[in-house]
């Protein structure tokens, strides 16, 4: 009766009594107020900066940075611009976050599965690891690993060599790497080609299996192609074997590949801390799949690896991925603690830039923009993956 009344009268309802239009009006007003507030903050800041004769704008990015950065993925010197210095910092953040995330997921999964092990000792050890590491602040862990590095390892002159061509000292770990050769580029290209071929084979094998039921040994053939193609290329170039061995010159090792103590300490701290959380996420995901599923899968004769691959994992992943994404973001954001132990990440280079140019507001805005970009692109990728996994549900 009531709805009928509303419907007939709706033509004549005054604007302010129509809940829908009222809602739109209030939303519009809120939007305007937030917009005005933002405008007020920005303009007031600009006016104040102007009044104190503090320069603003991003022109400083093209000026010469005149500071040095400890490690860099791209060529950089004190003669490069501030923009390039910030790029070096951003790449360093990506480097530590990416490697950190990959290892964290591996380690976290192993510990999460160990936590569910029927072996009493294994599951207890995993539980202790999780409880301890989750409850020690990550900053303390960073200081701990960093101190271990520089307090326990000797100077480069007395470096320890645990294996041929590896030298450990308080300046980092120096590795022997193959000397630069044009063959490496082609080996990398054939590796990429190999990956594409394997992907296509996998698709074909799956279709064939669905049609005929025949199983193709994708894993073995794929491994052979991915390793084999670059190997043949290497043979084709006449097996270049020159090695770039690190040598002690003056104060430090030169040549080879040196991984700095700051990087190792930061990576270790982030991995060990975040892996404890990932382990809990994985445990929860696996436990969310009801026991009956596993028993049913075993009952139809699937072998244990197939039970996990085909039955448990597809269902567990749906539970695991959203909280896992947030752990990945945590790791990326926590990498900004690098400032404390001297790893030149984005925040560190931005800090120096801000101090030398005095453009704090622009610097902080850049820091926020860069981390927002990292976070949004990570979650965009993970959301895409999550959707893909969710489709497995039938």
């Amino acid at each position: 009766m009531r709805s009928f009344k509303n419907n007939t009268l709706s033509e004549k309802t005054p604007l302010w009594l129509d809940p829908k239009k009222r809602a739109i009006f209030f939303q519009f007003m809120t939007f305007v107020m937030v917009g005005l507030l933002a405008y007020y903050l920005v303009s007031n800041t600009l006016v104040n900066l102007e009044k104190q004769k503090i320069a603003s704008g991003f022109g400083f990015l093209n000026k010469e940075s005149s500071f040095e950065i400890g490690e860099s993925l791209i060529p950089y010197s004190a003669a490069s611009t501030y923009g390039r210095a910030l790029l070096v910092g951003a790449l360093n953040t990506i480097k530590v976050s990416f490697i950190g995330i990959v290892i964290t997921i591996l380690l976290g999964t192993i510990i999460g599965v160990a936590r569910l092990s029927t072996n009493w000792l294994v599951s207890r050890l995993a539980a202790i690891y999780i409880e301890v590491m989750q409850n020690i602040p990550v900053l303390l862990q960073l200081f701990f690993w960093y101190a271990i590095f520089y307090e326990t390892l000797p100077s480069p002159q007395e470096a320890i060599s645990p294996g041929a061509g590896i030298f450990m000292s308080n300046r980092g770990v120096a590795f022997t790497i193959p000397e630069g050769h044009p063959a490496h580029l082609y080996m990398f290209l054939t590796f990429l080609v190999g990956c594409v071929i394997v992907y296509l084979i996998r698709r074909w094998a799956r279709k064939r299996q669905e049609k005929t039921g025949q199983i193709f040994p994708t894993f073995r053939v794929g491994t052979a192609i991915i390793i084999g193609l670059p190997f043949i290329t290497w043979l084709g170039f006449g097996t270049p074997l020159e090695m770039d061995v690190p040598k002690l010159v003056g104060f430090n090792f030169e040549g080879g590949l040196t991984v700095s103590p700051e990087f190792i300490a930061l990576l270790l701290g982030l991995i060990i801390y975040t892996a404890a959380y990932v382990a809990e996420v994985v445990r929860a995901g696996i436990q969310s799949v009801s026991k009956g599923q596993r028993e049913a899968a075993m009952a139809i004769g699937l072998r244990p690896p197939l039970v996990i691959n085909l039955v448990i994992l597809p269902q567990a992943l749906r539970v695991i991925i959203p909280p896992l994404t947030s752990q990945m973001l945590n790791l990326t954001k926590n990498s900004s603690l690098a400032v404390a132990i001297g790893y030149p990440d984005f925040v560190s280079t931005a800090n120096t830039t801000m101090n030398q140019t005095g453009q704090s507001i622009e610097g902080v805005a850049l820091i926020m923009a860069v981390y927002l970009f990292f976070s949004l692109s990570t979650s965009a990728f993970m959301n895409w993956y999550n959707k893909k996994v969710a489709l497995v549900e039938r």
């Binding site: 104190q52 950065i69 101190a147 103590p261």
Partner: protein
């Protein structure tokens, strides 16, 4: 639309209201305390002692300003700031004045909107190194790993120096003083670079101070000065002339011990300086006894130097450039006339 316009007007008024600024001197007087940005822990310049009382050359400079403004050197609130935080803290009015071993530079005076008062310590950047490295000149630091603090002129000077001499090097930049020192003492870096006065302070807290030497090369000029914001000339004058007064008192031979006797001096210069012959106080907007209060409660520049960083302190610094101009140094006060 009308609502929108009203809203705009209100906002603009708000903006205008917050733009009108009272003088810093009035603000400080209303607050009843002088807020000073200091170093969180630099022996000899500003560091809390074992009872939590702030001590040091920069701290005494801040006390002198409080004595000039309030006639009471204890009315100071200390805000410990890192090198990175210090300029924004001053710009955003979190502190009234910055006494934090800050180097006066062109960029900071222009782009950053600050004014630097008279220098209260002439410094220069040097290198601290372990004797075990057997290096006696900075020219031999090719390929060295160098520990440094971020956000300082130090980073830039070091980069310039190594570039000029064509030597490759690797910086390790750690924000926290204590962490940086620990890493250096443990051998993470070959050398530590900073202002020579800071190197002396850092060496004084080393596990074995005799093992370290400061290399002879001084690679930069570091005039450390108190800083204020652009746009308040009266406040700048007060801070500037407080430092001048410390130096002038040493020139005139007025110390915290003899300042009361000096009130009876027949020297017209002393009479004007101590406000027996009034005039300077009014010109600065302060009490006529301002200089008397500074010297009585804090002492002259020489006393401050000897007490905090001089030869009888763990830092064992010579007066050097910081001696009076009459004794071969650079400390020279503009005439009190």
């Amino acid at each position: 639309m009308k609502v929108f316009k009203c809203f705009m007007v209100v906002l603009m008024l708000l903006a205008a209201g917050s733009m009108a600024v009272a003088g810093t001197l009035d603000e400080v007087r209303t607050k009843g305390v002088l807020t000073v940005g200091v170093n969180a822990g630099l022996a000899g310049f500003s560091m809390p002692d074992d009872k939590g009382v702030w001590k040091g050359l920069d701290v005494d400079t801040a006390k002198a300003i409080a004595a000039a403004v309030f006639g009471d050197a204890s009315k100071v609130k200390y805000v410990p700031l890192t090198a990175v935080q210090r300029l924004p803290a001053l710009q955003s009015k979190e502190v009234d004045v910055l006494c934090r071993n800050t180097t006066a530079t062109l960029t900071r005076e222009t782009v950053n909107g600050l004014n630097f008062a008279h220098v209260n310590y002439y410094d220069g950047q040097g290198f601290l190194i372990s004797k075990k490295k057997k290096v006696n000149t900075a020219k031999k630091l090719k390929g060295a790993t160098v520990c440094t603090l971020p956000g300082t002129t130090t980073e830039m000077n070091a980069a310039d120096y190594f570039r000029k001499n064509g030597m490759p090097w690797k910086p390790v930049v750690i924000e926290n003083n204590a962490e940086l020192n620990k890493a250096f003492f443990a051998g993470r870096c070959d050398v530590l670079t900073s202002d020579a006065s800071q190197l002396a302070a850092i060496r004084s807290v080393a596990p074995n101070p005799e093992e370290y030497i400061i290399l002879p090369e001084i690679i930069s000029k570091e005039p450390l000065s108190p800083a204020v914001r652009h746009g308040d000339d009266q406040w700048y004058d007060i801070v500037n002339w407080t430092v001048m007064a410390l130096i002038e008192a040493e020139e005139l031979g007025i110390t915290s011990a003899n300042v009361d006797e000096m009130l009876k001096s027949t020297d017209p210069q002393v009479q004007r300086f101590l406000g027996v012959n009034p005039g300077f106080g009014k010109a600065l907007g302060l009490d006529e006894k301002w200089a008397y209060n500074i010297i009585k409660q804090v002492g002259n520049y020489g006393e401050i130097f000897d007490r905090n960083v001089g030869l009888k302190t763990p830092l064992k610094l010579e007066r050097g450039l910081n001696a009076l101009w009459t004794k071969g140094g650079l400390m020279y006060a503009i005439p009190f006339r």
